[in-house]
Amino acid sequence: MKFLVVDDSLTMRRIIINALQRIGYNDVVEASDGKEALERFDGSIGFVITDWNMPAMSGVEFARAVRANSVGASVPILMVTTRGAREDIVAAVEAGVNNYILKPFTPSVLKEKIDRLLASMGAAA
């Protein structure tokens, strides 16, 4: 499965990719904001992990754009962000995000969310 990791922080992208590789996912595409992620988003992407606060296009805007695209209607989107307010979580759900991780996170939380999302997507398919 190919992952698209979207974060403006190079450190965070490296941490997430490092965690993904430890779980066993090595096929990863990176983008530094929502706009760049949209350019890289195609039918080959099977899972999206995105930050919220990014220049050019935020993670929530990116999620909306993905959901508006027929190719991205059912691709799991996992938001990894520092935004912890209730209204932010609600906005993420409204935008089409499938699950939400707060930074700082542990690789075990990331694995658990990915497993759960993939299982639910498999069940829905």
Binding site: P55, T82, G84, A85, V90, V93, E94, Y100, F105
Partner: protein
């Protein structure tokens, strides 16, 4: 009703008293505009003095109202939200400092444990294969934990970006105030762009996850997310 002549006399007498008081103030060292005092005496001596005085007072009122308006405008630029922003920035900087310190301790603790594991592995020539395997697993976990602690860099960067945009906004406000009161030559120039560093963009304020227990914070987020997602699909 009092005759017009009587009213006129009383009014003139009042203005003379005012004029006398102004002259006394002026003489006592108060910084009073002598031209204005002279002008007052001059209009009072003219046949149409009252009409002129009325126009002068109206002009003075308009000028005073303009000055008051400018003061209000200034107060608006330096309103309580500006002060609140300063307090917020102070709070964010403390959060950044605390998060950085916490992460640094986490990294140091992880590295200390990792070094200890390496030393044990180095010394344990007679160690069983299972123990060795277990210790290597622990070492891998410790090093993974150290990498994970580096997330503080992103959290710190986001907070500093927000503070930076707030400072730019305050610079803009102060410039507006300076334009009202100071000579045109005086300005607070915006920060010089740094080569290779993107220009400062407005960064909205938001509530950061600063839960002392990350697991508990995640549990709260999960609960909110589950409730909202269930409502959305219902």
């Amino acid at each position: 009703m009092r005759p017009a002549e009587e009213l006129l006399y009383d009014s003139e007498a009042s203005f003379r008293l005012v004029d006398h008081a102004i002259q006394e103030l002026s003489a006592s060292g108060a910084e009073l505009d002598r031209e204005a005092t002279g002008f007052l005496a001059h209009v009072m001596a003219q046949p149409g003095g009252f009409a002129e005085l009325s126009r002068t007072l109206l002009r003075a009122y308009a000028e005073t109202a303009g000055i008051v308006g400018r003061f209000r405008e200034t107060a608006g630029m330096l309103d309580s939200s500006g002060i609140d922003k300063l307090h917020q920035m102070h709070g964010h900087l403390r959060e950044v400092s605390s998060a950085t310190e916490l992460a640094t301790h986490g990294i140091l603790d992880g590295l200390t444990r990792a070094v200890s594991l390496v030393e044990q592995l180095d010394a344990g020539e007679t160690m069983s294969k299972e123990d060795r395997h277990r210790m290597i697993g622990s070492l891998r976990e410790e090093l993974g934990g150290v990498v994970n602690q580096l997330q503080f860099q992103d959290i710190t960067a986001q907070q500093l970006r927000h503070i930076e945009s707030q400072l730019v906004d305050m610079n803009r406000r102060i410039n507006q105030v300076v334009k009202i009161f100071a000579p045109p030559a005086v300005t607070f120039a915006p920060p010089e762009p740094v080569p290779g560093v993107p220009a400062i963009q407005p960064a909205p304020a938001y509530e950061m996850n600063l839960h002392p227990d990350p697991e508990a914070g995640q549990a709260v987020a999960d609960e909110i997310f589950a409730i909202k997602a269930a409502r959305k699909t219902a």
